[in-house]
Assembly symmetry: C2
Homo-oligomer: 382 residues x 2
């Protein structure tokens, strides 16, 4: 909670829940990443929060951008990024979207199978593009991460060798390897195993005459919610050691793709208590607290109670009691914390404001377009 | 899949996934509800699909509307419904939204606790409204339902007696009882237990001089996905029998709130296969099929693989194989069916169209506003 956000909210007159993002915090986060990993280029994961003011500031600071779609590429370009600073990092792309990206000048693409390489090769031929680079994403087990990581992206390392060889034969530059250690990764050593696999891929391909250049270290850098998290410096140190361990004195070019780690702690949601009630008069009956924001209004990451946000109220000195916390829609799945009830002040009342911290990332864009008629989450970047 | 939808899609030129809703099917569904429950008023649950053309047709057919917010009330009014045909059915309402609803002429409100009654009483006094009716929602265990039903809405029946008495004392009309047997309810007898509780509440309050008038039977009427479902007539028959059993010859006024049952089978989503791949060359490795629509683009009800849609392709005669089915975003949680892989043709290829049936309800409005830069689900009502 920054003084600037406090001041902004004091003067806000509009109704309804909102997110406020403080650019000073983002600037500070960018500087921390740059200091902690001085030889690594930062590709901000636009999907975490694509607010134009945020992208413009990051572009000015020298950030590159990891994008998931043509719309995100257009946002990065509009923010002032040149196409050589944009990666089309989604492994699942329509061929016509690859064509559009190439036409915009984007030359860096993620793949995880030969079919995706073929799309890029065909699109490259169609556009007549040159210097098109692909990196292959490998699977990573994600142990230590708080947001579920499935096998959705990436392939087994042995297959990555073939995919990159296929790209090379198709006239693309087999540029490197990427992986993702899992979102909200609390273990600073989580990069080690994937870097060992990456190094093996580099070596196997070198023996076949294909020299890779880059390792994309992905995201996973956490935001502080309720539990303390390691400092960015600790991640930088651990990653550098793992790079040295596995690549010796031939450390490749590296990039990182922070999203949550860049904007999570820069934002705060202000919401309102709509109702406080109990289901019966029985002794020990749990209180339900209903906010005007829920799973479908921006707090999708409470799915399976994965992310547990810090919630502040004006009554935090008072006696606390575990409550079920729920959203405002007529959907019984719109409950934030029930399996592990959330401690809130007994004195919390209808109409009170609550502040949900660490909500700068993965909130506004997850909001449903109009579920139950509720508008998407309002956002202010200050 | 109706001939009208097939014809529409044949001529569609725009890109991207879309939902097409056939109004003829909705008209037919409305007629079936009216026939199956001839003495029951239909309050269409606007949240299931608030498309203006759909609401306008239902208004013309004589339907009433169950709304979750002021925006939905405005949609119903704009569709031609008079305020006496609108219920503000959300038990979680801001007091200022109750004021606005009263100003629009709405007089029927859901509650499940005394605090909500107090809001309505204060708002009624402020507006100077008369004839304001409240019904109290009671908890129902939801056994037999496919979409998770939590304890989010409703109170224990014993408390409902107090809540309605409180409303009566506050000068509101204690109008009745409501419950919800759980969405996609496959058991036609699911209403029985809640009707027994409702009858007991009627009786207890009658002994205290308060005469209730109405039982709101809620929604829960299913749409056919992969499994067969009972006919609407069977629900009507079973509900009528339960009403007779518990209320004898003093059957109260009743209303139903179908949403899924009214529009689910009227809609179909057309999507595109963006990628088909495997994660390794290992024997028996599962294929992954990625569509251009996923959990955040409108198929939110695949959460925990709750709703299993029927998916049709042009290659359905070919050999089938269980696949993991996933959406297009860079979010590892955006996987539709993985725990129970979905059988799809082995010949299914990148660029193929697939048809996802029974998607008229709870799709467009769940779509994220811009996750990963992807636009919300397009919708056509024909």
């Amino acid at each position: 909670m920054t003084e600037r956000i406090r001041e902004f909210l004091r003067h806000r007159r509009e109704d309804g829940p909102c997110l406020v993002v403080d650019l000073d915090v983002v600037r500070d986060n960018y500087a921390k990443f740059a200091r902690a990993l001085p030889d690594t280029r930062v590709f901000y994961a636009v999907k975490a929060n694509p607010a134009p003011e945020l992208l413009a500031m990051l572009a000015q600071l020298g950030s590159c951008f990891d994008t998931a779609s043509v719309v995100e590429i257009e946002l990065a370009l509009a923010a002032g990024a040149t196409p050589d600073r944009i990666s089309f990092g989604n492994t699942i792309k329509k061929e016509r979207d690859i064509v559009r990206a190439l036409e915009y000048g984007v030359r860096l693409f993620a793949v995880d199978c030969e079919a995706e390489v073929d799309k890029i090769a065909r699109a490259t031929a169609l556009v007549g593009a040159e210097g098109v680079k692909v990196f292959c994403r490998i699977l990573c087990d994600g142990a230590g991460a708080e947001w579920p990581l499935s096998r959705k992206f990436g392939c087994e390392p042995e297959m990555a060798v073939e995919v990159l060889e296929h790209a090379h034969r198709a006239g693309l530059e087999a540029y490197g390897v990427s992986f993702h250690v899992g979102s909200q990764q609390g273990n600073v050593g989580a990069w080690d195993q994937a870097l060992a696999s990456s190094s093996a891929i580099f070596q196997t391909l070198a023996e076949r005459g294909i020299v890779l250049s880059m390792v994309n270290l992905g995201g996973g850098f956490p935001t502080r919610y309720l539990k303390d998290i390691p400092a960015v410096e600790a991640y930088g140190q651990s990653i550098f050691e793992a790079l040295s361990r596995h690549f010796g004195n031939r450390i490749p070019e590296t990039i990182i793709e922070p999203g949550r780690g860049m904007v999570g702690n820069a934002g705060m949601i202000e919401a309102e208590v709509v109702l406080v009630s109990k289901k019966s008069r029985a002794e020990g009956e749990t209180r339900w607290v209903y906010l005007d924001i829920g799973k479908f209004g921006g707090l999708a990451e409470t799915m399976d109670e994965s992310i547990r946000y810090a919630i502040r109220t004006d009554r935090d000195g008072d006696e606390m009691e575990p409550c079920v916390l729920a959203g405002p829609t007529c959907d019984s799945a719109d409950v934030l914390y029930e399996k592990t009830p959330y401690p809130l002040p007994v004195s919390l009342a209808i109409g009170d404001k609550v502040l949900i911290e660490g909500t700068g990332a993965y909130t506004t864009t997850y909001a449903a377009v109009a579920f139950n008629g509720f508008p998407p989450l309002k956002s202010y970047v200050i």
